[in-house]
Symmetry: none
Subunit: 195 residues, 4 copies
DNA sequence: TATGAATGAGCGTTCATTCAT
DNA sequence: GATGAATGAACGCTCATTCAT
């Protein structure tokens, strides 16, 4: 996937290490020194690129999320129907959780331990995701794929159902195949929205 | 020696203060001293009743949750149909979040920062709640209120939808009436489950 | 020895408990509460009889030592020759260590952790013991039992040799019979003092 | 980068400060912060070099003692007769106490307040010293300098007599010249061991 | 630019002491 | 007198952050 060589900037190394360590330990238990070691750089170097531990946390979180959103938009655009789009989102969501269960785990934690600016960003980010889903549902209604459901309620239900996969998955207790859990959930939701 | 009741034990005072402070600050930022001040007792007194900060957190969390579960079971038993039961749960859930948004906020956080025993308890607790909902849905299916939906998928969707109320509510951004958001969500879900 | 019954005053109970606990834990690690429990009284009661932990320590120490000195004088007076007196002292010393190894252990510790008054008392006490031995040696010289040795040097040597039993005995490593170790030491010392 | 020597490592600075403060206050009353101040470093720096207060105490103690033992062996080897060797030991002992009365003072205290490993090390250390003296006495017997005395008893007496200098010296009450007290003691002991 | 030795503010916890009963 | 619940000063230790090299 990479162009030339495996050249990674120090910044990238640190962000990746931060992901690993924050996810493993949580924000407070994670030590800046451990992140530096994980990244293979000196402790002081971390502060060359990030002004504080909290700043590093925020940056790591943002990068991870924005990457996810980019993937989401990129993939979803290829689907034609609203139903397919939502299905795609559900599977991407599942994949994302599985591959980044670390990030998923700290999403929850992140709400309490950062400043208000970050909280606002996070809230805005979640709204953005919700709006994206809402717009797909509204598109589906417009195209006649769905009934005249309350689009906000439906997107809340959809988002919530996605979210409910978090806990069991991140605790590693969901050893069944993804389609076995995602399909039935989608079925229930789609039934509620179908004409 | 005292007249009527109203008398609160020190333990109760501390638990209530812990709720307030942990919710406001999160586990790590909360200082034991602040909890003591909030409770109107000395710092040492906290340690007369709880062996450590973590222990206090766990106890506070358990008490709050168990109280909620008791309320839930008590109220739900009065409803006759599965639909009414789920509706009841949705509203109680909403009320609980509104009244205990403090507790709601830290539910998420709590997963990372306590020991494995607590994590297990929490996981078991969540399963218990899910099973309760699942059994209501299955009862609804048996009684012919619902179609033959996948009861697990449905309960995940329901739980998830309830959960999705968390974020906006705990961030204090939901200034509409509860029924305006709960009813549409229930409608979507029930449509998906109806015959 | 007791007059009426086994009536023990609270004060005595506390002093005995203090002996046990201070000896087991040392001054700093010993907790006043543990002493109270050991004595079978309430924590507050300790402060009815002793103004502080340090005060309790001092009192306990003084009582123990003075009791030892009384025994020493009482027994020694019965011996007729200086040699016999010193021998008696050596054995009593050994017995005392064995029976009160607890007290012996904290003698050392006690020098650092109390106030100057106590230190002076302790120093005076040790001098008193040394003088007692010195006077016996001088009596021996006067009576022609010993050569004209330097009585101070001799008493230092004698005291020191007694003291050197401390470490091995209090560490419980001396599993030989007392006479097997005391007699040779006395022999060396007496040879050095004999005509 | 620095010119000659004179340069002291932080570790050495801290060990020296520890010696001063532990000796002045005893293990428990000594505050880590005071040691840091005495060393002219920050409190955290102490923990860069020693994992805990107890660890610092043990290291300080070991260094001091091992230095003493090295000095002892180095000097004693130069003496030819057993008598001279013991005399040398006596004077070195006295010097050591005078120069390191701090260390001497806490030797006693140290027995109670450290863990079992340290206690074992201390006990082993004392045995080693005793064995060294015993071997010199046995050498003296073999060479015909001393009578067939019980070498263990004699070494106990010698060690004890040395030890008895502790108390008066460390309390600063011995304002006489060292030879005035050491020579008579040696005389008594040697008389007891001579042919 | 990169480093890691040095730092000290900050916090959890202990326990001697007090005092209302 | 006797009690033990309540207290808060005190201290060991951590770790984010700095800065001289």
């Amino acid at each position: 996937m990479e162009a030339k060589a495996a050249e990674k900037t120090k910044r990238e190394l640190i962000l990746e290490a931060a992901m690993v360590v924050f996810a493993r330990e949580g924000f407070y238990k994670a030590k800046v020194e451990d992140i530096a070691i994980e990244a293979g750089v000196g402790k002081g170097t971390v502060y060359e690129y990030f002004s504080s531990k909290a700043e590093l946390f925020k940056e790591m979180f943002k990068e991870g999320m924005e990457k996810f959103i980019r993937t989401l938009h990129g993939e979803v655009i290829q689907a034609s129907t609203a139903r397919e789009k939502l299905k795609k989102i559900a599977y991407l969501h599942y994949d994302f959780i599985m591959k980044n269960r670390d990030l998923a785990k700290i999403t929850m934690e992140s709400q309490n331990q950062c400043d208000d600016d970050f909280r606002k960003w996070l809230f805005g980010f979640q709204n953005q995701k919700m709006d994206f889903i809402k717009s797909i549902i509204e598109e589906g209604i417009a195209k006649g794929e769905f009934r005249q459901v309350d689009s906000r309620a439906a997107s809340l239900a959809f988002t919530g159902a996605m979210g409910s996969l978090f806990a069991p998955v991140t605790f590693g207790k969901l050893d069944i195949k993804p389609e076995e859990i995602i399909e039935p959930i989608l079925k229930v939701l789609f039934e509620g929205m179908s004409k």
